[in-house]
Amino acid sequence: MRQKSFCFFFFRKRRTLLPLLALSGCTLRGAPSFPIVGAYFPAWMLCVLTGVAVAVGLRVVFLQTGIDALLSFRLFTYVALGTLAALALWALAFGP
């Protein structure tokens, strides 16, 4: 149920922003293991990649909007934001 509402949330609120991520989020339903060319990759690996992508994406967005100028300790901030995104994805999609 939780996973369904998670996907629903993405579809409703971020339809224009993140359609691809939302789509992948819905394909997450199922086993926490992803087949890629005949090998199964664990779910946490997907979460790590998502975290890295979110950190890079936020950096680009913040640079364009000027928020980046407000930040200090940028490396730690972006790493923390990426970690938060990865953990949120893990908790929502695969957590209890």
Partner: protein
């Protein structure tokens, strides 16, 4: 500039703190609700064999066929076993006839023993008469009223009668012993009956039926093959109960209890959750540290390992209501204990 810097530091601290808290809570969940992607679908097996050997004459099942309990799987040439049954039946008839024969002979011997007893009585009477004759003649012979010759004959007759009585007694004793009983013939009949029962059992074992519902696998031969007794012809995967064997790390085992709900995905279709119940947790695995030759000194390698990888134990999860197409023995599976789509 100073204000902006303070805001930046505050944002950084908030983000890092939130990330640490999130990391701690996710780690806590992960321990409390274990899951693994290193599980396999498992079932029980029967290695199908017959306890008797012979030529395979009938094989109505094919590889991968589903069979029901009691279905005929294959048949071994029953002729030698039917012949053995006939032989055993003939042996039993022989033993039964012999028993009747012995019963008749017993009646004859019993009658002979009665005759011998009567002979003893007759010999005793004769001896008594001879004895009385001698007693009667003795005074007459002493006074020469009867010839001495007659008295002598009477004494010889008494001795004869004495010997006849002794012989009759011996013969009677011998015939009492000779009556015997039917124990030997009865035992021979029982032995023949047991041999016949065994032959019939072996004849029945030439037809092999399915001990359980299941799938025929590893069947590579056709009718005509000659099988030794107890030779396995193929393997039957029982489909009465299916399991997932999940290898969980020992540190997560306190969170796993028999009866816990589990969500299993067979990677044959990774979108269909299967509900399961934890049945049991393995009580032992072979460890490289404890494996050594039995009954001798422990083999302890010299080492200085600082990092020890957690041991994993097989957790047996009973699958409930899964589609048969998802269940193939050895298939990769993921198991989530007490969470996932099948455990609301």
């Amino acid at each position: 500039m100073g204000g902006r810097s303070r805001i930046g530091i505050l944002i950084a601290l908030a983000c890092i703190g939130a990330a640490i808290l999130a990391g701690l809570s996710v780690a806590h969940w992960d321990d409390a609700y274990p899951s693994t992607d290193s599980a396999t679908i498992d079932a029980e097996l029967v290695h199908v064999a017959s306890v008797v050997g012979g030529r395979l004459v009938d094989l109505p099942v094919r590889e991968n066929q589903h069979v029901h309990k009691g279905d005929l799987l294959y048949r071994i040439d029953p002729e030698p076993y039917a012949l053995t049954v006939h032989q055993a039946e003939a042996n039993l008839a022989l033993a039964t006839a012999e028993l009747a024969n012995q019963r008749r002979l017993l009646a004859v011997r019993t009658a002979q023993a009665a005759t011998a007893r009567d002979q003893v009585t007759r010999a005793q009477t004769n001896r008594d008469l001879a004895d009385r004759t001698v007693t009667r003649l003795e005074p007459l012979a002493n006074r020469s009223y009867v010839p001495w010759q007659q008295y002598d004959q009477a004494r010889v007759a008494r001795n004869d009668a004495e010997i006849s009585l002794a012989q009759a007694r011996q013969q009677s004793a011998a015939s009492e012993v000779a009556i015997g009983d039917l124990a030997s013939a009865t035992a021979a009949q029982a032995a023949s009956q047991a041999a016949l029962d065994r032959a019939r059992y072996e004849l029945r074992q030439t037809a092999v039926t399915a001990p359980t519902d299941g799938y025929v696998t590893s069947l590579h031969v056709k009718a005509g093959e000659v099988l030794a007794p107890s030779q396995v012809l193929f393997t039957l995967i029982a489909d009465e109960a299916w399991y997932a064997v999940a290898n969980l790390r020992e540190i997560t085992l306190p969170a796993v209890h028999p009866g816990d709900c589990a969500t299993i995905y067979s990677m044959i279709d990774r979108r269909t959750p299967i509900q399961g119940r934890v049945e049991s947790i393995g009580w032992g695995v072979l460890s490289a540290d404890s494996a050594g030759p039995a009954r001798t000194l422990p083999l302890v390698p010299r080492q200085m390992d600082w990092v020890h990888v957690a041991q994993r134990f097989p957790v047996r999860v009973h699958l409930q209501g899964a589609a048969p197409t998802l269940l193939r023995m050895g298939a990769t599976a993921t198991v989530e204990i007490r969470h996932g789509a099948a455990c609301p």
